[in-house]
Every structure is written in structure tokens, then in C-alpha cells.
């Protein structure tokens, strides 16, 4: 339980820091924010190696969901580029 608290606080700090830094650099692409959140999530989850088996299972599922979101963003980007090139027109 103490470990869960530390895990959530670490993620919250990382997400906030990322948002502040990217906002300071005037970044307005939500996909960039999401991609960095995903990387931070995966790295933090990896570093908290001793979470219980049940928690790890849940976090793995969460990782798959976030990764699916990332793939959707990539898919939209690819589709936009392909449409712009006029390949399907």
C-alpha cells in the first residue's frame, strides 16, 4: 500500500513535470504529450519491480490499453500523411 502511494506520486510528478516542460517549449501536440506519458508509465512500472503479482497484472493490462492508444495515434498520423500525399485520391 505504501508502495502503491509511492508509485502513484512518482507518476503524478513525472506527468506534471512533462506537461510543464512541454508547455514551456510551446508544444501543442496532444500526441506528443501522450507518447511521453506512455514512456514514463512503462519505465516507472518497470522500475517498481516488486509490486504484487495482482498489481503487476493490472498494470500490464493498463500498459496494453495505453499502447493501443499510442498505436491509434500513430495510425491517424500515418493516414493523414498518406492522404496528404494524394496516394488514395
Amino acid at each position: 500500500m505504501r508502495m502503491y502511494g509511492r508509485y502513484l506520486v512518482t507518476l503524478a510528478l513525472l506527468f506534471t513535470a512533462t506537461t510543464v516542460v512541454l508547455a514551456a517549449y510551446n508544444q501543442h501536440r496532444i500526441d506528443l504529450y501522450f507518447s511521453l506519458y506512455l514512456i514514463e508509465y512503462l519505465v516507472t512500472t518497470l522500475l517498481f519491480a516488486y509490486l504484487s503479482r495482482r498489481a503487476r497484472r493490472l498494470l500490464n493490462v493498463m500498459g496494453y490499453i495505453l499502447f493501443a492508444g499510442f498505436l491509434a495515434i500513430v495510425g491517424v498520423k500515418v493516414a493523414t500523411i498518406l492522404l496528404k500525399t494524394g496516394l488514395f485520391s
Binding site: 500500500m1 504529450y33 509490486l51
Partner: protein
């Protein structure tokens, strides 16, 4: 513990709803992406908190300690009645028929008891060649914690540190960190900020405290050798347990 579970679940729901609304307003009304991203981050954190809240154990450490008390009292009564004075030897499951147990030799012997056979799953066992090599084979708090460990790897102190962290930090959440510096036949295990109180109890003189019992059971299982608790010291932040490793049992 129910309160803590609800706290995580409520925090999760609050973050998801609040973060979602915040993201929508930032995206549709203010049209400012960093704030929308912050809302998205809150939704992700909320989902994690909600999920983690559901994986929390239903029984608190205090409740677990109360439930364990009767068992410890019974073992203490047995030890006192039988006049046992020897330190318990924690044995790997391979010697005790699949379930890790601690052997309390009936005879006080300065040398470690020489275990020369697979021990039967009985309460009173004959473990050596001599007619006086009898002892009690008891389950300990560590025996019950062992399923959290999974399959141990190659016997080493690094593996032991990992296994103890898996059980005590991740599985039971009883300490903040575990360190096993050095090696050899005497191992020092350092538990950082333990939450279990170690109020003296007559059973602890033979078995060690519940924390020491879990540490010794895991050590016996990971290293594949009988282990006994040589000493325990507690200061404000740390609980230091010294384990004595015995020679590997050749059966």
C-alpha cells in the same frame, strides 16, 4: 484496510471524472493543449489508482497480526511445556515434503542438527541417525508467505534480496526495502522501515520474530539450505536479522 481501498478507488474515480471534464473544457473551450494533456494525465492516473485500489489486500497488517497471535501463543505454550531451548532450523520445502517448515530440535545441541533424511509431514519427526535426533516440525508465518515467491532462481544473495523484496515489499508490504549485503555462511538481512511491531514473545526466542521467520523461510527456499535465525536487532528505521546458513543437505 477497507478504508484504504475506498480511498484509492475514490481518488481514482475523482481523478478520472475531474480530469476528463478538465481535458474536455481545455480542449473544446479554452483550446489550450497543455491543459488538455494535464487532464488526460489525470485520467490515466485515476484509472491506475482505481485498479490498484481493487488489488489491495482486504485484511490489514494489524488484523493479520491479531489472527496470527493465537497460533504464536500455541507454539509458545508447546515450546514451554516441552522445555525446548534450541533455535528453530528453517528447512526448504524439498526436505519437508513440499511445504516449508521449521524444525525445533528436542535436544539442545551447540552444533547444528545434522538432517540426513527427507522429513515426514508429521508434527514430531526423526531427523538424524541418533536415537535422540527428534524434533518438532512446525509451520511458521514464513510458510504461509512462501506462495508469494513464485519459482526461485539460482541460489545467490542477489536472488535472495530479490525474493525477499518480492515477498516483503511487494507481496506483504511489511517493509520499505530489503538489503542483503555480503555473503558467506552468516548473512545479514537489513529490513528498512518495517511496519510489524516486534513485541517480545516467548515463541520468538526459538522461532524468531514473524519478520525473521519470513526472512529465514524465504532464505532456506531460495538458497536450498537449512537456515536459522542467529540474532535480531531493531533500531528506529531498520530491523537487522542475522541468518546462519547450514551446509546443503545431501540426501
Amino acid at each position: 484496510m477497507k478504508g484504504v481501498r475506498y480511498r484509492y478507488i475514490l481518488l481514482g474515480l475523482g481523478l478520472m471524472v475531474g480530469g476528463g471534464l478538465f481535458a474536455l473544457v481545455a480542449y473544446l473551450v479554452i483550446d489550450y493543449m497543455p491543459l488538455a494533456a494535464l487532464g488526460l494525465a489525470a485520467v490515466i492516473l485515476g484509472a491506475i489508482s482505481l485498479g490498484l485500489g481493487r488489488t489491495l489486500p482486504r485484511v490489514s497488517v494489524d488484523a493479520g497480526q491479531v489472527l496470527m497471535q493465537a497460533g504464536v501463543d500455541n507454539v509458545a505454550a508447546l515450546i514451554e511445556e516441552l522445555g525446548l531451548r534450541s533455535r528453530a532450523v528453517y528447512l526448504p520445502a524439498s526436505i519437508t515434503g513440499g511445504v516449508a517448515r521449521a524444525l525445533i530440535p528436542a535436544r539442545v545441541n551447540p552444533a547444528s542438527p545434522a538432517i540426513q533424511r527427507h522429513l515426514e509431514r508429521r508434527f514430531i519427526v526423526h531427523f538424524g541417525p541418533g536415537p535422540e535426533d527428534f524434533g518438532l516440525l512446525v509451520a511458521t508465518p514464513g510458510s504461509a508467505a512462501l506462495p508469494l515467491l513464485g519459482e526461485p532462481g539460482t541460489p545467490s544473495t542477489a536472488e535472495l534480496e530479490g525474493a525477499l523484496s518480492t515477498v516483503l515489499v511487494g507481496g506483504l508490504d511489511l517493509v520499505d526495502a530489503v538489503r542483503v549485503p555480503g555473503g558467506g555462511n552468516t548473512l545479514k538481512v537489513e529490513l528498512v522501515r518495517p511496519v510489524l511491531s516486534t513485541t517480545p514473545h516467548p515463541a520468538y526466542a526459538v522461532l524468531g520474530s514473524p519478520l525473521a521467520s519470513v526472512v529465514a523461510t524465504v532464505a532456506a527456499e531460495v538458497l536450498g539450505r537449512p537456515v536459522s535465525v542467529a540474532s535480531e536487532n531493531t533500531d528506529s528505521r531498520r530491523h537487522i536479522i542475522e541468518l546462519r546458513l547450514q551446509d546443503e543437505v545431501k540426501l
